[in-house]
């Protein structure tokens, strides 16, 4: 969409902001004053966020803080009630014409989602397809890629996530960590310019967390733009360029990971981080007492 699509929104949104441009230094994702309620319950109370190309942003915060909802708003799994989100200069979910917002059609929404990869907490692999078919499905059906080419690319991606030997396994035959890695490969198959991760390791057994985080670290190293909702403090500290701490539907604190995680300014951030740390310690103590090695939390 063109630049002029955002001009008149400045007046409507609560904070004046620069027009989003599609230039190299413009943020890939720009969210301004995002509002969302479920049945009168305000979940997002005005979220602002800029994510630049190649950046890894971690969203931290207690459950119910709205971080997952915010992530889902970016690729329109939830519709926002107020504010604006732009991805790569395009207004998400609407087009602006004659000073009015118009809902996008089903087809246009699908087209916007194509370039945004999403990884779910519960993997959501297609259980009736093999790992290879899961990865091939969207390129063939959505982009119309030739089956042979899609297959070759899918095998390459499975190799990249360390599952080159399991193309013909059904999801039910894979461990949680393996399933989540297939899910990452499936999202990458659409060559997204942005990857969203919704608590990708929360449903995993502790000893399987490491293999998924490793794949995500590799991805970050390759320069993928990523927004990650996570409770893995170690990952946030090492990999994120920017961390955002959310609570009660607002951004409480944000900045460099070493500032926010190691030296939080707000009481709420401090309490949350302290609790996370204690849990980490307990997990480590548990692992030590049962004699298993652990790769949790601080991989």
């Amino acid at each position: 969409m063109s630049d002029n699509s955002t001009t008149s929104t400045t007046a409507e949104s609560s904070q004046p902001h620069e027009r989003s441009r599609t230039g190299e230094d413009a943020p890939l994702v720009r969210a301004v004053n995002v509002l969302k309620s479920f049945h009168g319950n305000e979940v997002l109370k005005g979220i602002d966020l800029d994510v630049h190309r190649g950046e890894v942003v971690c969203l931290l915060g207690p459950s119910g803080s709205g971080k997952t909802t915010f992530l889902r708003c970016i690729n329109q799994l939830e519709a926002i009630d107020g504010g604006r989100i732009w991805v790569d200069g395009d207004l998400v979910g609407y087009r602006e014409e004659g000073g009015h917002l118009h809902h996008l059609t089903d087809k246009q929404v699908a087209a916007q989602r194509r370039d945004i990869g999403m990884v779910f907490q519960r993997f959501n692999l297609f259980p009736h397809m093999t790992a290879l078919q899961n990865v091939m499905e969207a390129p063939v059906q959505v982009r119309g890629v030739d089956k042979k080419k899609a297959r070759a690319r899918a095998l390459e991606l499975l190799e990249q996530v360390g599952l080159g030997d399991k193309p013909d396994s059904y999801p039910a035959q894979l461990s949680g960590g393996q399933q989540q890695r297939v899910a990452i490969a499936r999202a990458l198959a659409m060559d997204p310019k942005l990857m969203l991760f919704d608590e990708p390791t929360s449903a995993l057994d502790p000893e399987l967390v490491g293999e998924v985080l490793l794949v995500m670290r590799e991805l970050a190293k390759q320069g993928m733009t990523m927004i990650v909702v996570t409770h893995e403090m170690g990952f946030a500290r090492d990999v994120a360029d920017h961390v955002v701490f959310m609570d009660g539907g607002v951004v409480v604190e944000e900045g460099k990971p070493k500032d926010v995680i190691s030296n939080p300014q707000h009481e709420r951030t401090r309490t949350f981080l302290k609790r996370m740390r204690t849990e980490d310690d307990e997990a480590r103590a548990d692992a030590a007492s049962t004699g298993t090695t652990t790769t949790t939390a601080d991989v």
Binding site: R114, F120, F123
Partner: protein, 313 residues
């Protein structure tokens, strides 16, 4: 091997629990079966040889093939396709389509098949003895404006059509679609919401997500009750005689029975045929269930325990 040491418990060799009740039940059933078989052999009115003969009569075989088998296949195809379409409409976001689907189900589930078929057979032909396909209200428009053409492209003689097997198949199929719609709806709703979400996150539109992701998984839930419906339909094809279509298994066998006064052998013959067709269908259902159970820990891959929360399903 350490198993041989006596201080640690080894292989379990426990006596099974006794089930004397089972043996008593078996004895009782065996006696009853023996009595029944004796009656088959000694009561000549059963007349099994005649029953076998009736089963092989040409009109009976023709009735079995046309009315029962083609009738079942045809009406189930219409019923399944129609039912899935109606279920998808019922779950659509468009309130008009939802309403259409509801009214359809309400109507066709509400009237007995016998009445529906009788109505198609005689009533429709009486009300509309020909169907003209053309521009809506074309004839009225033409007579209003005095045009020579009445915008009719072709005409169907309803009276000739309404008493054919095809009309009966359409009638049974329309009725079946109402029941299949409920089955398909349950199947679609049984698929985890995360599946449609994952599909749309990949950029699939609603139709693609339904066709490629949701329906194939819904089939796992849809197939068993559909097998049930199919076997019920085999029996309901006997209602075709209400159209009246008489190339149908029950009509033909009972006609022979009445004509030759071999009433009971005719019943035996028709029962045997229905049981045979039903058994074949049960075998087919088994393979269909296996096919649509792919990836769901079917017996073919029980080497793998299904991990908790696998695939979000």
């Amino acid at each position: 091997m350490t198993d041989t040491t006596t201080d640690r418990p080894g292989v379990i060799d426990a006596r099974p629990v006794r089930h004397p009740g089972r043996w008593v039940a078996l004895a009782v059933i065996l006696v009853l079966v023996a009595m029944l078989v004796t009656s088959f052999l000694t009561n000549e009115r059963w007349n099994f040889p005649k029953a076998l003969e009736i089963m092989r009569q040409t009109p009976v075989l023709e009735g079995l093939w046309k009315g029962t088998i083609i009738g079942t296949v045809g009406s189930m195809v219409i019923g399944i396709v129609g039912g899935i379409i109606i279920a998808v409409l019922r779950l659509s976001e468009n309130p008009i389509l939802r309403g259409v689907s509801f009214v359809y189900t309400w109507f066709f589930r509400g009237i007995p098949r016998l009445v529906l078929l009788a109505m198609i057979g005689s009533g429709v032909g009486f009300l509309y003895n020909r169907l003209d396909f053309g521009v809506p209200f074309g004839q009225q428009l033409a007579s209003l404006m005095g045009l020579s053409s009445d915008f009719t492209f072709f005409t169907l003689n309803v009276n000739q059509f309404s008493s054919t097997l095809l009309a009966g198949i359409i009638g049974l199929g329309l009725s079946e679609a109402a029941y299949m719609a409920e089955i398909a709806r349950a199947g679609i709703l049984s698929v985890d919401k995360g599946q449609a979400e994952a599909a749309s996150a990949l950029g699939m539109n609603r139709g693609q997500a339904m066709r490629r992701i949701v329906l194939p998984q819904a089939m796992r839930v849809i197939v068993p009750p559909t097998g049930n419906e199919t076997i019920a339909m085999v029996k309901d094809t006997s209602l075709l005689s209400a159209i009246p279509v008489i190339t149908e298994l029950y009509y033909q066998t009972s006609a022979i029975g009445n004509r030759t006064l071999l009433i009971m052998p005719a019943f035996v013959a028709v029962t045997a045929w229905y049981l045979i067709v039903g058994s074949v269908l049960m075998v087919g259902q088994y393979f269909l269930e296996k096919r649509f159970g792919r990836g769901f820990g079917t017996p073919s891959n029980k080497r793998f325990a299904r991990p908790a929360g696998a695939g979000g399903a």
